[in-house]
């Protein structure tokens, strides 16, 4: 196991290096922050004045060297726009996103698991079809549309929930629900197919022959095993939450890392963009590693040696 973890860590470092190169190149391919920091009719001299002050007049290879050596020291540079260390901005905002994630996951899992189990148990019935419809709706509906509809219904029409921004408990409901719906469909379909597979196994048949109550068979024996694939894909879902947060946090004016990412992109804030994406990548890699390790403990048949 230790060898496996070490191997994964080394892979992660290589992956992060590749991500760093891609982010560095793509960020610069889409424009220059100086263009967005001066008025449209600014003179070239004014623009150069700002480029010089921002260090953007240096050759790309010098900028890349500064960037990579900075990462090694844990220094992602200062945000061009906000004039603060990029990593500091990321970690200031991270807690806000993390506050949203647990509730989103609870909503996603709380809706998707029962729906998936019921759809599997009632396979081929109208209940299964409705659950399938919900899954298709969830996959096909963009987050921002769900968010806007939710705001209209619950804030403007019913006036029971605030339309946005961080605040008391009521402020969490709409963003968390919107973020959660992103994963409901995926988790539900996964649970349903896993359940169908498990329901057809010998030990389930044995349990039924022994006269075990149906609900115990489904919820205790089947679901436990059906959850293993969901856990496997948990790392992927975390990635989905992070990208989903970009839209959700923008619509709900939620100051998390999703909003920070879109701000960095929109303003071509190279150091901030590089920091946000790399640190996102670190988080997602870390979560995936933890999931893989947990997976070995949950499913004794898995061995990494």
């Amino acid at each position: 196991m230790q060898k496996y973890i070490l191997n994964r860590l080394l892979q992660g470092i290589v992956l992060l290096f590749i991500v760093a190169l891609i982010v560095f190149a793509l960020a610069r391919a889409t424009g220059n922050p100086a263009d967005l920091m001066v008025p449209e009719d600014a003179t070239e001299e004014e623009r150069q004045f700002i480029e010089r002050n921002l260090g953007l007049d240096r050759p790309y290879h010098v900028q890349l060297f500064v960037f990579l050596t900075g990462i090694v020291r844990g220094d992602f540079g200062d945000s061009i726009v906000y004039k603060k260390p990029a990593a500091e901005l990321f970690f200031e905002r991270l807690p806000n996103t993390l506050k949203l994630l647990p509730l989103s996951m609870i909503i996603a899992v709380g809706v998707a698991i029962p729906l998936g189990v019921i759809a599997a148990v009632k396979r081929g019935t109208w209940i299964d079809q409705v659950a399938g419809g919900i899954a298709v709706f969830g996959v096909a509906t963009p987050n921002f549309w769900i968010a806007i509809v939710c705001i209209y219904i619950f804030s403007v029409w019913l006036d029971v929930l605030p339309p946005g921004r961080m605040g008391g408990p009521s402020h969490y409901i709409l963003p968390a629900f919107t973020l959660g719906t992103f994963s409901i469909a995926g988790i539900m379909r996964l649970i349903r197919s896993s359940m169908l597979e498990v329901l057809d196994t010998e030990y389930v048949k044995l349990a039924r022959i022994k006269g075990l109550q149906e609900w115990k068979v489904f919820w205790k024996h089947c679901l436990r095993n059906a959850l293993i694939p969901v856990l496997t894909l948990f790392g992927v879902f975390v990635g989905g939450f992070v990208t989903g947060a970009i839209v959700t946090e923008t619509v709900f004016a939620w100051p998390g890392i999703g909003r920070l990412t879109i701000d960095a992109v929109a303003q071509r804030d190279f150091p901030l963009l590089q920091a946000v994406i790399l640190l996102d990548a670190v988080i997602i890699l870390g979560v995936n590693l933890v999931v893989d390790i947990l997976y070995a403990y949950i499913n004794p048949r898995i061995r990494y040696d």
Binding site: E44, F49, I50, G164, R165, A253, R259
Partner: protein, 622 residues
Amino acid sequence: MSLKAALLGSLTLSLALVLACGGTAAPADPQIVEVTRVVTEQVEVEKVVTEQVEVEVEKQVEVERQVEVTREVLVVATPVPPVQDVVRQQEDPAGTLTVSLQNLGSQVTDPILQGRAGHAQYQAPIYDALLGFNYESQYGGVGPGVAAEWGIDPDGNSWTFNIAPGLVFHNGEVLDAHDVKFSLERTMYHEESVVGDGNRLNRQLRQPSEEAIEIIDDHTLRMHTDGSKPHFWSLLTRAVFQGGQIMPKDYIESVGDEGFRAEPIGSGPWMYAEHSVGDYFRYEAFDKSHRGIPHFANMSLLLVPEESTKLAMVRTGQADLIDLVPESAPEVEASGAQLTVIEGVGMFIYQFWGLYYEEAQALPVGDIRVRQAMSLAINRQDIIDFTLNGYGRPSMPFATFPTSVDVDVPRWQKWGEEELVYDPDRARALLAEAGYADGFEVTFWSTNFSGTPYMNDLSQAVTGFWEEIGIKADLKIIEIGVFSPMTRRPGHDEWGEGFNGAVSIFRNAGRPLPVPRYQSTFHPDSNHVAFGDRDSLTPVGEEYLRLHEIAISERDDAKRAEATNDILQLVADQWIGVPIVQGVSLYASNPETVGRWQGIYGRGELGDVFHRIPHAEGNPWQ
């Protein structure tokens, strides 16, 4: 009347005027407004007096110093407060004004770190500029700021600024000429400064510019320019550009840059309380600002990028005020929220690129008749009515507004009415005359600039009208980060690069000084070089350059205005930078919490207006 009596009377009026310009309190009684009007009418008398010198003042009013008024004072009028300000003086600041805005710029507290218009939204509440706004005028423009009076000196190569007496920073320190000099130099020279105006200011001052700013006394500065710069004042006011924001010298020197940025101190009507990047700014009312005391005790500026969320916030009472785009206006009107329209904030134009190249002469758009036909094909009223939901205005020539300096406004308003018309028959006739009766193909590049996310809609409308006269426009919508480099040199230094040979959407800010905007598009050293660069200057470009030199340096007002108007005519005749419509800024207020207010003509941001926004009580919208 004896000479002595005349002198004393006039000087008293001058001093009253100075005090009124710099005083913190607006009149509590509407009758005082009349007094102010009388004073304003006495400007000529003041000029006579200022040619007399060294007259001792009888201290019948509270006088802190004798002000040396320069001979050619441009603006000394005291703003007449609107009704709601008079009401405001009868109440103490109370409650919180919550404003949701789509953009808060860089959200930095130090003025030298913000290079774009965001400063006019979230920094302007904290900092005064050397010159302010003329709140009194229907068309905004420049008014007293930290400087109560200013003017060009008789030699034409220096400007004198008289700092209003009694100004204090939020920490109680007195604001004087030393702070002004320190602030301007910090803006020009600080290694982190991203303020383009710092660069402009530096270029206009005599070098070395540290010595060009001369402190005459604690309340008087003289700035020596590099030759005659009749528009020098424009670099020192938010009414035109960004420069001239005044920071506290002693405080910054004692706490350093970082200390200042953590606890910023200004002299504006709002004191900084706290902020969170990407989220909000919070302020508290300051009761010693010369701009006036805010109606609200606290203010929050919230960053809410999504339009639907902002609309919901104002409808549910979570925000008192929001900015919005024209597309949302009908929904706001239907919801009962109150709309405030700020006029003259900008102009949408389309612009031809690289027509000075030889290759361009073979293109249809190389023919002036074709370019004029393209303008005649556009139904601007339809664009205003349908694309902008009625929230646009007919335009004057390129970068020209009713508030424009050195411009014969009635003449150019008439030009707009007569030339920027919809006449598809005449357009087809001009195309036929030029040999393009069957139309032609052209590429139209478009993007949404920050703050106006409907420019692509305008581009679609324009190209749609062109289709009707047979011009097939290939509309290419691209992201602003890709668009900008193509508009800047060296992004289009060769034929085939950038937008050369094509058309693009663009916009002009609603500044009262058109010459710099003409310079940025038509000057041979500019980014756009619409008339060619130094090596390829067209005859029209040469004539423009001649007129430009007069327009930026001629001291004689009439000659300068003549050259400016000639530039307008020259450019208008070329149909290269063509106005589409004039834009407005829109805000929606919750009428239960916010009373009727008005913005400043030409300034879409509200940093200089927030303190004038009243409570709903006593300030009805209807």
